[in-house]
């Protein structure tokens, strides 16, 4: 077994363990931290496959920016420990077998029909230059459309977050700086 494969399996194990821990923890901040571990482990997998740029972006964007905001919100809300319930009986009777069946089906379809081949370690064309050329030549239109979508989302967030003026009409306006 090569070092690459051992590392790949190790990162995969960390990712799965982190995901399970995310569900098992009762405190929101522990769940958020397990999610960060999952993201970091995925970045390791990308790096081993040769997609260096995607790995770096995974860490910077997901682990470094989005999850910081998650943790920030949890800290601000001061969310308490979640209460354990036994869960509904329907979920246990049908949910768990259904999920297993569904994932089996997806795995079978992917392996049988999609024509995907196994990727040897380090074989993906993941250098920053390749990604840049692809994004800004072949996929320029989808890229620009996505950026407009994100811009709309940002503006929506600003509109939702800004408070409507609560001053009664005619009342003297006091500046609060």
């Amino acid at each position: 077994m090569s070092v690459h494969l051992i590392l790949f399996l190790a990162f995969g194990a960390v990712a799965v363990a982190g995901a399970i821990n995310l569900l098992a923890q009762t405190h929101p901040i522990n769940s958020a931290l397990s999610l960060i571990a999952v993201m970091a482990a995925l970045a390791g997998e990308y790096l081993l496959l040769g997609a260096e740029f995607v790995a770096a972006v995974q860490v910077i964007v997901y682990a470094g920016a989005i999850m910081v905001l998650f943790v920030f919100v949890i800290m601000l809300l001061n969310a308490g420990v979640e209460e354990r319930t036994k869960g509904s009986r329907v979920a246990i009777l049908f949910g768990v077998p259904g999920m297993l069946l569904g994932s089996l089906l997806v795995t079978w379809v992917v392996l049988r029909y999609s024509g995907t081949e196994a990727v040897p370690a380090g074989a993906l064309p993941g250098a920053p230059r390749t990604i840049g050329t692809l994004l800004f030549h072949e996929f320029l239109l989808p890229f620009e459309i996505t950026s407009i979508l994100i811009l709309v989302a940002i503006m929506g967030a600003v509109v939702l977050a800004s408070k409507p003026p609560t001053v009664a009409p005619g009342a003297p306006i006091r500046r609060v700086d």
Partner: protein, 343 residues
């Protein structure tokens, strides 16, 4: 080169770099106390050893022997993990920084860098430093203390805000070089303009350098951006509840981050290890490392100088400066650079 030589070289390099880095962290604290002391018409440390040079050792011993208090109301797992997260990620980012050209020992070419040349080196540093935020944020939250929490919140908000400008200020250099690899960026700065001015990026990217320096000061929570630990308002901010070695770990993380910022400024804007090379062969091998260290030292001095000079921002000034001045400025710099290169 055989794999075992590669591993051996990596281990030796890691040990040396880590040793030098930790010593540098200790002596940056000494330098800061000394320089700020002289700026304020005091002597700074003088009692322990000549010029107080053994003060870092005394401080280290003191931190080790102090009682390690854990207040009863903290959330223990994260309270213990937070300083470790801070210091580990602060020390990790040094791994991709190249200190000099590769040297040849016994027929093997060894790069003066812990890792080999990574083609996303700059992105790795940004990623590792962005994870370092968790140390501060979790310390503030897990201490279960209002001053700590406010400090942690301020720190994470400030770091997320200034990270945008930090990233954008570096893109100008990346456009000029066309590579994320720190070695390529340094190599592109060799040679001279008109035969006498060194071809450093600072002459092509002065605005980018200004944005980088401002954003980096904010990222490292240093004066004038040290609101997360503003003593007059927050006791000590996120590390209020910490004592002994755990407190020292936050201190080490802060100074290691300063050194990383200084290294990055040297590599990206001041030509890395380039400088006059002369003399016999052994001198020629060592001079690049000397120039690199000298430039890093200048940046650390500027850090301390700024600390001794400027007062602290108010919080609304900090946010306004980051979003309304620094971000537009770095965007304009980026667009201007792109147009100039394309044209």
């Amino acid at each position: 080169m055989p794999i075992w030589i590669y591993i051996l070289a990596s281990v030796i390099k890691s040990a040396i770099v880590l040793g030098v880095l930790l010593t540098a962290v200790a002596y940056t604290v000494w330098l800061e106390r000394k320089v700020v002391g002289h700026m304020q018409n005091r002597w700074g440390p003088t009692r322990v050893g000549p010029f107080g040079l053994l003060q870092p050792a005394a401080d280290g011993l003191k931190f080790l022997f102090k009682e390690d208090l854990t207040p009863p109301h903290v959330y223990k797992p994260l309270y213990i993990a937070a300083p470790m997260i801070a210091v580990v990620f602060a020390l990790t980012s040094i791994a991709v920084i190249p200190f000099g050209n590769s040297i040849t020992i016994a027929g093997y070419t060894i790069p003066l860098q812990i890792t080999t040349d990574v083609n996303t080196g700059l992105l790795l540093i940004l990623g590792v430093t962005s994870i370092g935020i968790y140390g501060v944020a979790l310390a503030g939250w897990s201490s279960n203390n209002k001053y700590s929490l406010l400090g942690g919140l301020r720190a994470s908000a400030q770091m997320v805000s200034y990270e945008v400008s930090l990233g954008l200020s570096l893109v100008g250099v990346l456009i000029l070089t066309g590579s994320f690899s720190l070695n390529d960026i340094v190599a592109a700065q060799g040679g001279h303009f008109w035969g006498f001015i060194p071809r450093y990026n600072i002459f092509l990217q002065p605005v980018g350098f200004f944005c980088y320096l401002m954003a980096a000061y904010a990222e490292t929570n240093r004066i004038p951006f040290d609101l997360p630990e503003a003593e007059t308002e927050l006791v000590a901010g996120y590390h209020t509840e910490y004592s002994a070695m755990k407190f020292a770990m936050f201190f080490m993380a802060e100074y290691a981050n300063m050194i990383t910022v200084a290294c990055l400024a040297t590599l990206l804007f001041f030509g890395g290890w380039h400088g006059p090379i002369f003399g016999p062969e052994i001198l020629q091998a060592l001079l690049p490392v000397f120039w690199f260290v000298a430039k890093v030292f200048v940046f650390l001095f500027v850090y301390i100088w700024v600390r001794g000079t400027l007062p602290r921002f108010r919080y609304d000034q900090l946010m306004a400066f980051g979003w309304k001045f620094l971000l537009p400025l770095s965007l304009v710099n980026l667009i201007a650079t792109a147009i100039a290169v394309a044209w």
